[in-house]
Amino acid sequence: MRFTSYLTKASDLQNKKVDNFILSTSEFGRFSSLATESCFELLKTGREERPDAKYLFEWDCLQTQGVFENKVTALSEIDLNLFDGVRVAELGAFNWVLENTTLPIHLILENGHHNLKGIQTWEKHAGKRLERIVLSLELPKEVLKKYTSSLKTPVELQVLGDLLLFYSPRSLVKNQLSFDKDVHEKKWYEAKANSEESPHRGFTLIENKHGSFMLNPKKQSLLQVLDEVSESGVKFLRVDQRLLSVDLNKLTFSQENLQNLLPNERFIRGYFKVNKTDKIFVKLKNHRLQRRDENFVGTVVDVKKDQYVAIKVENQQMKLTLNKRIEFATPDGKMKSMLLRSMKNISLEDIDSIRDEKIILVPHTSGVSVKTRVNLAEAHI
């Protein structure tokens, strides 16, 4: 099995299981602290020491127009052609790289992109330039299997790293706590957060020049199920060791080794086995799915015991006239019916049919409450 990982120092190159190295500078990478100069030095060292490997430039920060323009200026000062490809996450960056370079593209679709149709659309759009697609950690293996077998482009998945929960451009951490001088100099602020209103504790917060991030308390690891990841058709397995405080060259990519290196960390598999986050979604949506039937007249909006039931007429097409039978469907599921012997408009004039009345009063019927739905009964017969 071959791995893709981040090149943050020369010793990382010693891990021979990694043959794709991502280089990311603090200017372009969400979680990178590498200066541009160091990035190019590492690239040079890599080419010398590991000529077999690929070296990929990553541009995964999000950006508004002004920041985008700064990035483009910064790119004009470096030679992107020294890399084997560019990895992009933001669609503006994707378009720019497509139109302004000839380099192979690794498209990071980790955010959203939960349908094959959408992924294939980007694949088609990028054409031959697309070398790799990075898929979302929220896709379970069955879905991954379907996607990898339908896509022409090889797929990458993170198998070890952090779970990013939240990314904001705003400065949210720096001013909340007291930080040492060197932290201010590096412009990299870290803290832990415990929710006061839910049982969740130990979120990692990071603020850097790209904004503020919240990470899941538990790290993600699929190292125990790498065979299953491969079986799902994923070709490139990514290890993001940058925030794990572990040396890449010490990783053997087994869970045991990982746990030995990081005894205090807890790991989860995320949604690889199953993703049920839409369960509540289905439950919340269903309660109003019912359609009104064609005999629907309106809804009871007021009831005065022994006096009247006020109906808000919501279906003006319904020709309600005296001596027709109406049905009441109460909110608690009971049905009542009544022969319409009298009807008044809101000015309390007797009427024998509805014309453009908005509210009508009919005689009181016990058991009928506000929000009861009113249908014309005859049409059923």
Binding site: Q65, G92, T121, F166, Y167, L172, F281, R288
Partner: protein, 403 residues
């Protein structure tokens, strides 16, 4: 083509759609029963959508339907049927954030596509790409400024929509999955649990403190309205499908009053701005900010307080029927007493204060001392009252929830 700004208001329900249109919005956005992000909003049934479209079109207003969840494969299977329905009832556009949904809409209908803010389109390059993909309008991410919007208009043929008012998601839109991992609910398909509004205990090796550190103040761009209009931003968007009737009416009326003046005179007077700002301050809101519209967010854009839902006024109800010279039928939302001073909010003209001298049951047989929410009552007629005019009163001491 001459520039005619659109004031786009949220419609969390059919009633709110009507309220928004009557109070001056010339477009509204609403969700059907599936495919959107507002799970808890009273989304529209198909019948309600039809009625909403007919109501809006009869008043020269447009209706956009939100399909902005990041949909899964199985959702796309049932989507076409809904799209055919939307096209049949002449919905004016659909709001989409997912490229798979964009493709599905294009394949099955000729409905115009507006790119949802959820897609975080923030720069010219991104807008150009979406233009190639066939969208007609981009709703920019909340991090974009008015100047960014103008630049995107300059470099593309896209319509540009920008938020001018309402709550703000603290994350880059579509880039928050806190609820997915903490509550098992997909925030990009309607399950956001608003974890950013929670209080957290923050800690590093030097210090510790409790803070509402990731909650945003609410956007209020009224002061920059002339810049929006001068930059020919096509659509000025108000957030808030989950908010109440009073919010829908107040925000739509406040902004439409100022836009109307701009259309008539080419500028917005200080007096009009003050009047509208004053009204916007009366509804329930977090502290206001104009963050990102001119400059990118600073520390003062964080709302570092416990959530409060208290406004200066509450809606006591709205006019269900108005019989000039005789009476108003009020659909009571919040209890009020005989003798209370109430304020009618006409659609265009100034608020009218009046006393609820008598309150009657609908058949006029009983006089009521205190109304019950959820009931209909009759009160004497008041000038400028029309069907759906809102009636409010000042908040009582203590807290009264209203939006």
């Amino acid at each position: 083509m001459s520039y005619s700004p659109e004031l786009l208001a949220p419609a969390g329900s059919l009633e709110k759609l009507k309220v928004a249109v009557l109070y001056g919005a010339n477009a509204v956005y609403c969700g059907g029963q599936q495919f959107g992000l507002r799970t808890a909003a009273e989304n529209f049934t198909n019948d309600e959508l039809l009625e909403g479209v007919e109501f809006a079109h009869a008043r020269n207003a447009q209706v956009f339907v939100v399909l902005n969840g990041f949909l899964h494969d199985k959702d796309l299977v049932s989507l076409p049927e809904f799209l055919y329905f939307l096209e049949e009832i002449h919905v004016d556009a659909v709001i989409v954030s997912d490229i798979g949904v964009v493709e599905t809409v294009k394949e099955h209908t000729s409905l115009p596509i507006h790119l949802s803010t959820q897609a975080s389109c923030l720069n010219v390059e991104s807008a150009k790409l979406w233009e190639k993909m066939g969208v007609k309008r981009v709703i920019l991410g909340r991090e974009a400024s008015i100047a960014d919007g103008a630049l995107i208009k300059k470099h593309t043929d896209l319509e540009v929509e920008l938020f001018i008012h309402g709550s703000m998601c603290m994350a880059y839109s579509g880039n928050c999955v806190i609820s997915n991992y903490t509550q098992g609910r997909d925030s990009n398909r309607g399950g956001c649990a608003h974890s950013c509004r929670f209080e957290y205990e923050l800690e590093n090796e030097n210090s510790k403190q409790k803070a509402y550190f990731m909650s945003s103040k609410d956007l209020n761009g009224l002061e920059h309205l002339e810049l929006f209009l001068g930059s020919k931003i096509d659509s000025l968007k108000i957030e808030g499908r989950m908010k109440g009737h009073l919010y829908a009416a107040t925000v739509a009326k406040s902004y439409s009053r100022a836009i109307r003046e701009w259309k008539e005179t080419g500028s917005v007077s200080r007096a009009t701005l003050e009047k509208s700002l004053n009204e916007l301050n009366k509804i329930s809101h977090r502290l206001y900010t104009d963050t990102n519209l001119i400059e990118s967010s600073k520390e003062d854009s964080i709302f570092d307080e416990r959530e409060q839902v208290e406004g200066k006024y509450v809606t006591v109800g709205f006019v269900e029927e108005s019989v000039p010279g005789k009476h108003l039928v009020i659909d009571v939302k919040k209890a009020f007493d005989k003798g209370d001073t109430l304020e009618l909010i006409p659609f265009v003209s100034d608020e009218v204060s009046f006393k609820a001298k008598n309150i009657f049951t609908l058949n006029l047989k009983e006089e009521i001392e205190r109304t019950n929410p959820g009931s209909l009552v009759k009160i004497p007629y008041s000038e400028n009252a029309n069907r759906f005019s809102l009636i409010r009163r000042k908040t009582l001491e203590g807290s009264e929830v209203n939006q």
